[in-house]
């Protein structure tokens, strides 16, 4: 194992981590703000990839517009799902279980609708022109597209952090997490906030799906793999914790990148091992304080 091998794996892990973070941040955002566990989050990721594919195929748009369409489409569908279905079970006794079951039914329905519309064969999306080459950094060469994903991911992290900590909508979102009744007494439309947060979170998922589409081909059922990976991320980082999700994604991304390079057959098992180790030593996640929950 020489240095350049390690560097290449590190960067590839960083790419994986960024994509994982973009998905997991949506999951953790809805959970942190609305206390809703969206089991179908991976399905919105998959829908994002299909929307981008369709936008390029029929509208002949360029990749960046397709990315935007994917995020908007997934966000709108997410808002519909929250408004039409999830909203009806808020406050029910043992709500958590029913949330999981309802969003589980979304997975099944979305998967089959995708199969009906797009068929079961692999779909692939070309990398945008100008990002098909590679950049040289000293002795190693990296695909430009992967570098771009890392940059976009960092931009999204910073933007989300700025919005959540410095703006009024961010404050409202954090307040929703803490005390919904008080917030509505102060004149904030809490149900609308919930729908919007759900929309933003699913848009993040769709965006990640579209961004990942040129690297991995798109198939129905992709949602499941993604949701389990992002679950491992939030287990490592602590559910509902934004920075925790980022560090969790970083750890899992790097571990997976090296596992793929060293023990390719068992790479997917290695990611579970990380989760089990976390659970043994810190079941609330590495970055979650014991009682409080931050967004």
């Amino acid at each position: 194992m020489d240095l350049s091998f390690i560097l290449v794996q590190l960067v590839s892990g960083l790419t994986m981590a960024t994509l994982l973070f973009l998905v997991a941040s949506g999951l953790t955002l809805i959970f942190g703000v609305g206390n809703v566990f969206n089991f179908a989050h991976g399905s919105f990721y998959m829908l994002g990839a299909y929307f981008a594919f369709q936008a390029v195929a029929t509208l002949q748009t360029n990749f960046w517009v397709a990315l935007l369409i994917a995020a908007l489409g997934a966000g709108l569908l997410g808002m519909c799902a929250e408004f039409l279905f999830l909203r009806r079970i808020y406050g029910r006794t043992e709500e958590g279980g029913f949330q999981i079951l309802l969003t589980y039914s979304f997975i099944l329905v979305i998967d089959d609708i995708v199969k009906i519309i797009w068929g079961t064969e692999y779909k692939s999306l070309l990398r945008p022109a100008g990002l098909r080459g590679s950049v040289e950094l000293g002795s190693i060469t990296l695909p430009t597209y992967n570098v771009m994903i890392i940059v976009i991911g960092l931009a999204v992290v910073l933007l989300a952090w700025l919005i959540l900590s410095r703006t009024r909508p961010g404050r409202i979102a954090r307040a929703t997490a803490l005390d919904r009744e008080m917030l509505s007494a102060m004149g904030v439309n809490v149900p609308l906030t919930m729908t919007l947060v759900f929309g933003i979170a699913t848009a993040l998922g769709g965006f990640a799906g579209a961004l990942a589409a040129p690297l991995r081909s798109v198939t129905p059922g992709a949602g499941i793999e993604v949701i389990i990976d992002s679950l491992i991320v939030v287990v490592i980082g602590g559910m509902g914790n934004f920075w925790g999700a980022w560090l969790g994604a970083l750890i899992l991304g790097e571990v997976m990148a090296f596992a793929v390079a060293i023990v390719p057959e068992w790479a997917s098992v290695v990611s579970y091992v990380v989760m089990v180790l976390t659970l043994i030593f810190k079941p609330e996640g590495l970055f979650a304080p014991r009682q409080t929950r931050t967004v």
């Binding site: 079970i89 279980g97 999981i100 589980y104 099944l108 679950l231 559910m239 057959e265 098992v269 659970l279």
Partner: protein, 320 residues
């Protein structure tokens, strides 16, 4: 009141067992025998699952792990050691399930609610991944075929009664458990876990016990299923299997002991009628799940009971 209720449950169990025992007398095709066996096996799986969720409030999305483990206990023994190892395979599967349930249980009862569900799912998928990748040992995606139980159990009718007997005894044991003081404690754990320590009892120990018990009976159902289908496949371990057993419980009603069994029977019959005609079976179960969660969260049995109570009370108010 309490005594009358338990008596009714046991009568119901007896009637169901008698009805299933009468099935071979109608000279059914071997396909119909298989259908009845599936109802029994999945009924046991669903009832065992519901001890965890409906009774104790622990929604596991990973019981497929134990169902599959039971099946693979039988399958691997027969594949690697020969077909007389059917019964030892069942027992090995059960022991393995008990050990694994204790180990995993100790890890995952430390978290509750959604986290618990997520972790059970992750462990289930881990088992599936291992089984899927370890091709030369488990057969991977090909599964293991030609698992004909040895000796007299090879006869379809004999195996059917063997399944019926084990399922009936298991469900009776679980019924006794749910009516015992431990069953009451488990309901306390669901309804008010903060108060259980006030009684000097441990929430986690109760959760671990029921997790192991439920997993054990799930493994038994899985090992019986291996003999019914004469094959096992990695799908037994896949998360959709856990999803299906949850759907059965929700459909039948998680508040009632026999609800999941009735739900299992309904799903298997619907799958037989509808599933053969469409490739979009997941879409159908997804829609059924959605309707049950949104409109009938108490399940068929629970809603029927609520309706009966409502009729009774409205009649009484009419009279008075």
């Amino acid at each position: 009141m309490q005594e009358k209720k338990s008596y009714l449950s046991e009568v119901f169990l007896f009637v169901v067992v008698a009805a299933f025992a009468a099935v071979p007398l109608l000279r059914p095709s071997s396909y119909q025998i298989m259908l009845a066996s599936h109802i029994l096996v999945w009924g046991l799986f669903a009832v065992a699952f519901n001890m965890l969720w409906g009774v104790t409030g622990m929604l596991s999305f990973g019981q497929a792990l134990y169902f599959g483990l039971g099946g693979y206990g039988v399958g691997l023994m027969m594949k690697h050691l020969g077909e007389v190892w059917f019964l030892p395979g069942m027992i090995t599967g059960l022991i393995a399930a008990a050990i694994l349930a204790v180990l995993i249980g100790l890890l995952i009862i430390r978290v509750s609610g959604v986290f618990f569900t997520v972790l059970t799912l992750a462990f289930g998928q881990l088992a599936w991944q291992i089984c899927f990748r370890w091709y030369h040992f488990t057969g991977g995606d090909d599964g293991i075929q030609n698992l004909i139980p040895p000796g007299i159990l090879g006869n379809r009718i004999v195996y059917y009664y063997f399944t019926l007997a084990l399922v009936a005894v298991s469900i009776w044991l679980l019924l006794r458990l749910s009516q015992s003081p431990m069953g009451v404690l488990l309901r306390c754990v669901r309804q008010n876990p903060n108060r259980v320590p006030f009684l000097g009892l441990s929430v986690r120990y109760s959760q671990l016990r029921i997790y192991v018990i439920s997993s054990l009976f799930s493994a038994l159902a899985g090992s019986l299923a291996a003999g019914v289908d004469n094959s096992i496949h990695t799908d037994m371990l896949y998360w959709t299997t856990s999803g299906e057993v949850i759907l059965m419980s929700v459909l039948g009603g998680i508040g009632q002991f026999f609800g999941p069994f009735i739900g299992a029977a309904a799903i298997i019959v619907i799958q037989d009628v509808v599933g053969a005609k469409t490739e979009y079976w997941p879409l159908i179960i997804g829609l059924v799940m959605m309707v049950m969660v949104l409109v009938f969260p108490r399940g068929v049995v629970g809603e029927a009971q609520a309706l009966r109570l409502w009729l009774k009370s409205s009649r009484r108010s009419d009279g008075g």
